[in-house]
């Protein structure tokens, strides 16, 4: 199995941001993403939607460079006012060249 080491960026955010976030991450270089509906609790306790506690988790497999760009963008644009958490890990991807 030829595997390519890439970055898996995970962003948990308010549902209202889904469209914006996915549009922006494609613009910043991601080739795809996966969205899961979740619920959670954080330190800020912002309950910004009608039905409290719901969030979305966006995961995207990208190159290290794109990962940096994404995280910098999220930190600057969304951290100040929105309930968001973002982290990155390294994964080995099958046919990973597709996602670079």
């Amino acid at each position: 199995m030829e595997m390519v080491p890439l970055k898996l960026v995970t962003i948990v955010a308010e549902p209202v941001l889904e469209e914006q976030l996915t549009t922006e991450l494609k613009r910043l270089g991601a080739r795809g993403y996966t969205v899961t509906e979740t619920r959670g609790e954080g330190s800020r306790g912002i309950r910004a939607s009608e039905l409290p506690g719901e969030s979305i988790r966006i995961e995207t497999v990208v190159s290290a460079e794109v990962a940096d760009r994404l995280l910098a963008h999220v930190a600057k644009q969304y951290f100040p006012n929105y309930a968001v958490i973002a982290y990155v890990s390294t994964v080995e991807v099958v046919r990973g060249e597709k996602y670079v």
Binding site: I46, A48, E50, P52
Partner: protein, 323 residues
């Protein structure tokens, strides 16, 4: 008034709402699944639209002109009064004031339905074209309040046009406007074939309404804890602003020629605060506005107030205005 109030508080709508609130007060985990809640609102909105369209076909364009003008006027006035009150008297930030104003400038469809149920129960049959007015009041107030916010704060680098697009093509508008057009086109005979399912007089509508309101009570109840976070001013605002807007709506409606039932409903619409279309629009365009303020005011203060006390008050006002 006392008797009317009592009757309203013992209506299935008020009692279902109370049960929802109590559910949260006893810290029960129970709530309707989100998709069911969505489905109920889809059904209620579509039913309103369809019936409104059928009635619109009966009413002439002339009949609706003045009420429509009054409604649009309310859509322009109410966000401004709300904004001014919050900013000047309440000393709220620009973003918070504009964010809350966007909610009070728009309309809550459930409050509309509760008002309809109430006036019909009182024997004051409203005009059939009221859903058209509901549609007209949905978005102007949001746009005006967000425009104020955008002008007065540093312009955000988000695409405001896409937000306006979302408001105009949201669930509420699609189903109300779509329902209106279908109702207009399909004709009386087709309506009769589906009326038992969609007519607000029918069993399905009333049953769906109680279940929906039960969940609204749970949602409102889950925000009761935030009441102490929003401070006394917003608490008072959430009660007195509706009374002012409600009286204004009943008065403009009466001037525009609406019956007692119609004027009451226009009052309730003006008095109500949106909690479906406005929150996401405000969240995206005014990130600094505190969601706890606008959601608590809209859901946990104004909505219950209108359902339980406001509507009977606007009804009394409308009756008094009609002499």
């Amino acid at each position: 008034m006392g008797e009317i109030l009592r009757q309203n508080l013992l209506s299935p709508v008020a009692l279902a709402f109370a049960l929802g609130v109590v559910t949260k007060l006893i810290r029960s985990e129970f709530s309707l699944p989100k998709d069911i809640y969505t489905a109920l609102s889809v059904y209620l909105l579509f039913a309103l639209g369809l019936k409104g369209g059928v009635e619109l076909a009966h009413a002439g364009a002339a009949a609706i002109a003045w009420p429509a003008a009054a409604t649009l006027l309310l859509g322009c006035i109410t966000p401004l009064t709300a904004y001014a009150t919050l900013r000047r008297l309440g000393k709220f930030s620009i973003a918070d004031s504009a964010g809350i104003a966007a909610h009070y400038g728009s309309v809550s469809a459930v409050t509309y339905i509760a008002a309809q149920t109430f006036v019909k129960g009182m024997g004051a049959e409203p005009e059939g074209y009221m859903p058209t007015l509901l549609t007209l009041l949905e978005s102007p107030g949001i746009h005006i309040a967000l425009a104020i916010g955008a002008m007065k704060t540093a312009a955000p680098d988000r695409d405001t046009r896409s937000v306006l697009h979302e408001v105009l093509t949201g669930r509420t508008m699609v189903l109300l406007v779509g329902g209106l057009v279908i109702g207009l086109l399909m004709g009386e005979k087709n309506w009769q074939s589906i009326a038992p399912f969609y007519d607000s007089k029918g069993a399905v509508f009333k049953g769906a309404l109680t279940l929906f309101i039960l969940e609204m009570g749970i949602v409102a109840g889950s925000r009761l804890g935030d009441l102490k976070k929003v401070g006394p001013f917003l608490l008072g605002f959430g009660i007195f602003m509706p009374i002012v807007h409600g009286a204004l709506g009943a008065w403009l409606g009466t001037l525009a020629g609406l019956s007692v039932g119609g004027a009451t409903m226009l009052g309730a619409m003006a008095a109500s605060a949106s909690y479906i279309a406005a929150p996401p629009a405000v969240r995206i365009t005014l990130p600094e506005a505190n969601p706890t303020y606008y959601l608590t005011a809209s859901l946990a203060i104004t909505f219950p107030f209108n359902i339980l006390f406001g509507i009977p008050i606007y009804f009394q006002v409308a009756r008094w205005l009609h002499g």
